[in-house]
Symmetry: D2
Subunit: 335 residues, 4 copies
């Protein structure tokens, strides 16, 4: 039995570098053995922050030279499925950043590859491991809200991404990249599946994002199989902070997740009462990144099921794609 | 020039009695001269709380005997248009509780009657006079949020109304009775008109409400003419309190209205930190009822335009009817 | 049996005018019949806001001409005892603003006069009627905090008063005028008497206040007979708002009173999250002024004991005087 | 030049084990090389959580065998000075948990030893590194509050410690162990020295703590050299949570530090609105432990002055001893 997992990280952009650092310094029973990136700058950053870790230009070469036990895939979404297939072929366990792919078809291919290889695939749904959402789930399961009837969520990013990222063919756009989180959380918190969506969206603020077919703000109405309803909002222009909120209202009570504050300080002067806000995902999510990766390491070492399965990834993506389609067509979409 | 307005109140149910009391005790330059009700119990309550005010069974008899200057119409919604026509015929200025009627056609009749008679008609949109929404409007107008792109609202009532009230032919149901407020506030705060809505709704908790054709929970997505988007939620089952919230997110900031707390107290014990919540409209709205009626009195005495016009009432109702229609048909509705 | 109390108001400065307005418009079973003031400007304000009420230059003339049933004394503190004696001699019931006087000796005289005359004397401790403090008391009595061991309070005014008011011979200064409230609330909430105090104070910001012997900021430590402890803070320079807070910590929990917010709105931009604050006593206290006067009217009409007795006034003043003495001498003072 | 500091931890009780774990996993350019403890159970815990680290029964033997570069002293307070002398004699840099000792005399000895040896001594004032207090300091220095005139603090622990710890000869008792933090923070935030204190304290709840001469609740009034005032509260019986608060009020504004909440969730039901609270120091302080140790490591490797000096430790202890003396004697104490 392994008592330490030797893990590589594919792609060390913003999130990938966070994973690499956490593997290097904070996750128990795990060792960061290598990363991939084709950017000299990112390679340098990875070496500086992760203790002289080996850097490879391609995943193939990394696998060949280092024989990792497992891989965290944080490449761009358009590369996910190919990377999953490579890792599965090499018999590596996989933690893959969401979404698994850009179409349900390619995701099905990835799932097949994983199942044929008999390796584990866990989806990187970070917010699921945030202390706030975990406590909300615990309260709902404990009956604190009675029967859930409404799910309301908001995901706000401070600035639109560059068009190269917003491109529907790269990240999947606002709905697949950002509202995806809230769709997953809604399914998980409500313990139900979404069967119909209707969306409104537009590139109201950032014409560049519009030029590549994406929107910068959107609202989606959704219906669960059990009759409950949802309203989801995603915005790339909440300039006041990285505003993540979730709420479940039941017939006996409600739970609300979300706190925009960064430090436990407020200041007061003649113009009012003020406090700061979080502006980045690590500020808001804190230990959730570590908890998620730890959870992956534990499920591989203990040979248990991943807490977020590939089926979760597929079901969530199906809703996200339907929501994006509704925004594009102006008609409600049944799932 | 009058220096005091002699006002009658038509209907002294929950809201009408509040108006009558405020006229009797708290509104300046106004005098409560009579009320109508056919209920002996309500007549008694009105006399007890408003200083032995004369009570009439019908509006006609009240007008004949008391010759008021103005009337506040707080009868059931289905009686509004007829009451407006009676008052207009008698040359009385009118403050009419929302909505003006149950169909756009009958509302148009009421507006014609008022215009022919040359009397003032102000709509009773109480929340518009709440200190919170007024401050939000001020901030938005001052540019605090930049260009508004998202409007999010929630109206939560603690319990479903009796089916006799929920009846679409009496109150208009959840959308016309409750979400109506948020539609109006959205139009006002965003300074724009809603051009398309899509709704999901259901009688999830209260079968009695469903039996008369109404829903107890609903979410609506909406699109403004200028491109901005909205998501509106109405619930008759927020058991934890009378939860009214509104939020406008712009491309430079945001404003949020809403505070559920009743008293400025919190208590703390080993099970957590706790505070109470408001459960009734007067608890939440406070002076807004007085401010609204004062505003009506002032506009009559000063001969200025009502701050909430009959056109506001019609435009808001048009959206509410469209939203209800979308919930019933499952299709988005253009307005 | 009277069914309406005819009340005069002595002194229509800031607080007195509030009382007069509330009597004129909002208190049930009470009628404002006259006020006294020697200021033409205040007389005009009283007439404008209280419906052409008669104004007298002196209390004697008012009593002679109007024969009131009761009086609210809101003259300057240095005139309280004389006014109480005048009213007692005329057989009038009295609601007297705090403190009853500037020395325990003169207060004893006032109490004697009242007892001889057989009239009621209620102390004007407004905060006692604030919904927040009332709920805190209810929770403590209900056992929510267990055995109370710590009382912490803060009273913050936005600006120092003019030296003519700060003068120890006029208002009694910061401790008798402002911290007095917190001393009373502490005695009431803890249901115990203070037996020792130690204070530190200084005129740190406003030399004019220092020139008349007063301080603009002070902290006081206190000990209750039952062993519990208190720390009280008073400041004339909380520029950010009228900050009133109270807190009781027991061996099983705690209650905290206080909320600085004026409207239920917050706004958010790149510089942080902001909300407004209350700056005046009516903004913070809201209906407490009405509740207090209503309570006085009720106790006279129903012939019950005033909820805040003259003994409460004396015991509170004794502590306030001791605290002021400790600040002046630098030594703890036993009471 | 060293590029990694080899550090030992003396004493692996609650705080010492936290330091050891952070050195093992989270502090950059530092390596945990050994710990001391005479408890088999603690030795086992240290090995389990810090990767098979060598454990010694005594500091002497550890120094002899491992030749560390630096030491974190988290033994019981009564052992601090002796440990400091041992480490100084061996030429080791020192991070010593607060307070440095139980008397000013023995602390002076420790400081002499350190100065003679030419090693660095940093005091372990964790809260100084909390993001909240750091931001408060930044705001005050930036002028956000104007001239500071009041400092108010509260340190609340959920339960009294065992009498063996409360013993004045072991931990120094409530004032030296707990209020010490707030004294230091007050000096730092106000940028001024305390010159006089007066305290009230008692063993109101826990007779066992009283039996060893300590108190379980206390309030202290203090005066700064520049005229500003302070009120400090310490409690061992804030059952509702580990409640740490600090506040500076200036003549132009105020800053408040403190947030009791653990997770960003609130739940709402018919009994009110609820959220959880933090109950332990790591929950409240989060990364402050890592930040503090990192700061020590950096100052040794970069040969800069420690951010919290031994003089800070002595000045803070002098105030704490005076406050404890005032509680014992009932008289104010000049420092």
């Amino acid at each position: 039995m392994m008592d330490e997992l030797r893990i590589a990280v594919v792609g060390v952009g913003r999130i990938g570098l966070t994973h690499a650092e956490n593997l290097a310094h904070r996750v128990r029973q795990a060792r960061l053995i290598a990363v991939t990136t084709s950017s000299a700058e990112r390679a340098e950053a990875a070496r500086r922050r992760c203790g002289a870790v080996p850097v490879y230009e391609t995943l193939d070469r990394l696998i060949e030279s280092e024989s990792p036990d497992a891989v965290i895939i944080s490449s761009s979404t358009s590369a996910h499925v190919r990377n999953v297939e490579q890792c599965a072929a090499a018999g590596l366990h996989i933690l893959c950043e969401k979404p698994l792919g850009l179409t349900l078809e390619e995701c099905a291919r990835a799932v097949n590859a994983v199942e044929s290889a008999g390796v584990k695939l866990m989806m990187g749904h970070t917010r699921r491991f945030d202390a706030g959402y975990e406590e909300a789930k615990r309260l709902i399961v404990a009956g604190a809200v009675g029967r859930p009837v409404l799910y309301r969520s908001l995901s706000g990013d401070v600035d639109p991404p560059p068009p190269s990222f917003a491109d529907l063919g790269v990240s999947g756009g606002l709905i697949l990249d950002s509202m995806y989180h809230d769709i997953y959380l809604g399914r998980w918190l409500m313990n139900d599946e979404i069967i119909r969506v209707y969306g409104e969206g537009g590139a109201l603020i950032d014409a560049d994002v519009g030029a590549v077919g994406d929107v910068d703000n959107a609202v989606v109405s959704a219906r669960f199989a059990g009759g409950a309803m949802a309203t989801l909002t995603a915005s790339r222009t909440t300039r006041y902070g990285h505003d993540l909120r979730g709420e479940v209202i039941g017939d006996e009570g409600a739970v609300q997740v979300g706190r925009l504050r960064k430090t436990p300080v407020r200041w007061l002067d003649t113009s009012g009462v003020h406090h700061d806000a979080v502006f980045t995902t690590p500020e808001r999510m804190g230990d959730a990144f570590v908890t998620m990766v730890q959870s992956f390491v534990d499920c591989v070492l203990d040979d248990t099921d991943p807490p977020v399965s590939s089926q979760d990834g597929l079901a969530t993506l199906a809703v996200a794609i339907a929501a994006r389609h509704s925004i594009q067509t102006g008609a409600p979409v049944e799932i």
